[in-house]
């Protein structure tokens, strides 16, 4: 009985994936991709990955969707030219064969998986009490595999530097994207005034809940970044100039605190990112709180793109 519902959901997922690939124009493909992201968060719930579902709902459906929509809007005119470059039948058949081959290989791998599946859950369950947090995912992200999370934070900052470095020389240090305008008494401006306070409460709640329940800094930061972007899209605030020193300090603050905590561990616990006995939870919370502003700034600025006008209004 229940399998039928799962079947409906995954078949729709497949249909949407095909849609995004074969859709007539880029807008339809992106709209399909947003729907795909929303459906994917249902699949994550089905796989008991509530934390993952939260991240997917926030990033897959929301941020990536808005980013791609913005790109489609600025790419009009290039689509017709691209259509003339459509590969011939031969290439398409070859691509189809290759895709089927890859799928078949993956299917064989999935069917050959050992039973029962290998797992690290018992180890996590055994060591989790020592960290003082109740959510095993937070435990993995900030205690057992904290190095991964540190590197990820650094990767995000590097990606942002990469995006900024695409700015034309004359706009270096300027503001990204174009200035949005909207009627200050209109519906959009009203919407962008009411929603962010609610979003901020929900975002901070998710950060706070992340210690013991699904949630955490990534999901929280995504919501906060989306709220900031909303204010910008409604023309209520301008994007910050990327040359702003305060902004740059905020961007590197999170990773720096993370590294500092790691070095402190070297001194107190004997290894990098070690937490001294009984101090794990406060340190985890400190890292989460310090990373939050960094993540908000990085995610929002990644969405905004490269500087495209000078810092003056």
């Amino acid at each position: 009985m229940r399998a039928v519902v799962s079947l409906v959901v995954v078949l729709l997922l497949l249909w949407l994936a095909v849609w995004t690939v074969v859709a007539r124009d880029a807008f339809l493909a992106v709209a399909g991709f947003i729907a795909y992201g929303l459906l994917l968060s249902l699949v994550w719930v089905r796989l008991y990955g509530i934390d993952v579902a939260l991240t997917e709902a926030a990033i897959g459906g929301g941020l990536t969707g808005a980013l791609l929509l913005g790109a489609v809007g600025r790419l009009r005119g290039t689509e017709a030219a691209a259509r003339s470059e459509r590969p011939g039948v031969g290439t398409r058949v070859l691509a189809m064969a290759l895709s089927l081959g890859v799928t078949a290989a993956l299917v064989l791998c999935v069917l050959a998986l050992p039973e029962p599946g290998p797992t690290l859950a018992p180890q996590v369950a055994r060591e989790l009490p020592a960290t003082g947090v109740g959510n095993p995912i937070t435990g993995v992200l900030l205690a057992f595999r904290a190095l991964d999370t540190l590197l990820e934070a650094i990767v995000l900052v590097i990606a942002l530097i990469g995006v900024w470095s695409l700015a034309p020389d004359r706009f270096w240090g300027g503001r990204p994207g174009m200035r949005h305008h909207a009627d200050p008494d209109g519906v959009l401006a009203y919407f962008a005034r009411v929603l962010p306070p609610i979003g901020i409460v929900v975002g901070v709640y998710l950060l706070w809940a992340g210690a013991d329940h699904p949630g955490g800094k990534f999901q929280s930061a995504t919501i906060l970044a989306a709220m900031w972007m909303l204010v910008q899209m409604a023309g209520l605030a301008d994007a910050p100039a990327v040359g702003n020193r305060l902004l740059r300090a905020g961007i590197v603050a999170g990773p720096l605190v993370f590294v500092a905590v790691g070095l402190l561990g070297l001194w107190t616990a004997g290894y990098f990112l070690g937490y001294p006995q009984g101090w794990a939870k406060p340190m985890i919370v400190a890292i989460e709180v310090a990373l939050l502003p960094t993540l908000v700034l990085v995610l929002a600025l990644l969405m905004s793109g490269a500087p495209a006008r000078s810092a003056e209004r």
């Binding site: 600025r74 995912i137 969405m303 793109g305």
Partner: protein, 110 residues
């Protein structure tokens, strides 16, 4: 067949569909969307593996799930980076073509 096996098999197909779009669609933005579909297929396979690792009272293995969160965020960063590259490409060449020789019709290529 368990639900997670079903989902894993569908995810294999998602990877294939994404790969096909990545090769066949000429417009870079369409390639990017297809690539994201492909990536999410990989994520879902990984998530199904996590679900198979349910043990010790946990409904799924938390280690792969934590890595998935990291992966989704990094995938967003990569997508944003690609979009920025693409917009820059159009700004400097006036065309979104990835062909080695842009079509002659695009006279305004600088």
């Amino acid at each position: 067949m368990t639900a997670e096996t079903l989902i894993a098999l569908v995810a294999c197909a998602l990877v294939g569909i994404g790969l096909y779009g990545l090769i066949v669609q000429p417009h870079p933005l369409r390639k990017l969307v297809a690539f994201n579909v492909m990536g999410s297929g990989v994520f879902v396979i990984f998530g199904a593996l996590a679900r198979r690792g349910a043990a010790a009272g946990m409904p799924a293995d938390p280690v792969p799930q934590a890595l998935l969160i990291t992966a989704i965020v990094v995938a967003f960063a990569a997508t944003a980076m690609t979009v920025a590259l693409l917009l820059r490409l159009i700004e400097s060449t006036g065309s979104a073509s990835l062909a080695a020789e842009p079509p002659a019709a695009d006279g305004e290529a600088r």
